[in-house]
């Protein structure tokens, strides 16, 4: 991992980052009484449903400002490598699927995964298993297709 100042085993650093994500979720729960589901927060800020109060939209925007702003600062400090450019067609298809799917399925890795499993919700467990399964199938099919095309 490209972060010399942490000097940890990659798995230990992954778990430490996970603990921070958990603490962030706890902070939002203890202060606002809400679940930290990023897809729900983003959709609520960018595409607010009719009749929702300004305050309900505002706290979601504040969360997004913290997420986007501090994400950029930390990535620069840690010199996180920028990944190679991929075809825009693939990125657009992926973005549409993730945006549509998380609204339809009421959550993503944070809402269903980190918070839903933390609440011991069976609904979230099912969603998490299904989206992880779908992700594994997609990556495997893509890999096989790449191998076949290269052969």
């Amino acid at each position: 991992m490209n972060s010399p100042w942490l000097l940890m085993h990659p798995f230990l650093q992954a778990a430490a980052g996970g603990v921070l994500i958990g603490l962030a979720s706890w902070l939002l729960l203890a202060s606002l009484g809400r679940v930290a589901g990023i897809s729900g927060i983003a959709a609520g800020a960018l595409v607010p449903s009719k009749g929702v109060s300004t305050e309900e939209t505002a706290w979601r925007w504040a969360f997004m400002v913290g997420l986007v702003g501090v994400g950029a600062v930390v990535a620069n400090t840690m010199h996180v490598p920028v990944i190679a450019a991929r075809p825009y067609v693939l990125l657009v298809a992926a973005g549409l699927l993730v945006g549509f799917g998380t609204v339809l399925g009421s959550g993503c890795t944070s809402g269903h995964g980190v918070c839903g499993l933390g609440r011991r919700s069976v609904r979230s467990l099912v969603a998490t298993l299904v989206f992880m399964g779908a992700g594994m199938v997609t990556v495997t099919v893509t890999a096989i297709a790449t191998i076949l095309i290269a052969a």
């Binding site: 994400g71 973005g95 699927l97 890795t109 495997t140």
Partner: protein
């Protein structure tokens, strides 16, 4: 109102710190975890990366305690009148289809909403293009489904 904004800003900031430190803003790590073919045949598929499991484990260690302790009867959030947690328990076709679509897009690019937003200003054009499409997908779903 201002208290709410400060706490949610701090929560978003801490969330971003966790995402970057954990390595989850690097799509190669996410795709590396979803690459289960690598468990069976690393020569052919490339190595499997267990990192995401450790991130989930670390986060769940905290949230399992948090949700067991904090939203109790008699407790109130610091900056809100009451806890407002999801209450649905039904497993319907929208949940399942949504999870399939989300998982497919996640596998294609390696981005889910949190890491995409946390690396929006530092991840190059890839994540910008992805995020614009992500928002379009959300708008479409809200228009068509709700």
């Amino acid at each position: 109102m201002i208290k709410k904004l400060i706490f949610s800003l701090l929560s978003g900031a801490l969330f971003a710190l966790g995402l970057v430190v954990s390595g989850m803003t690097q799509t190669s790590k996410v795709i590396g975890f979803l690459n289960v073919g690598g468990i069976v045949n690393p020569q052919r598929f490339g190595a499997w990366d267990a990192s995401l499991a450790f991130v989930m484990g670390g986060a769940l260690l905290v949230t399992l305690v948090a949700f067991a302790l904090t939203p109790r009867a008699g407790n109130k959030p610091w900056a809100a009148t009451h806890f407002e947690l999801p209450s649905r328990k039904d497993i319907d076709s929208k949940l399942l289809l949504g999870a399939v679509l989300f998982g497919t897009g996640w596998g294609l690019a390696g981005y889910c909403p949190g890491p995409a937003l946390a690396s929006l200003l530092s991840g190059g054009m890839d994540v910008v293009v992805f995020t614009v499409a992500l928002v379009l997908g959300m708008v479409l779903a809200k228009k068509l489904v709700k």
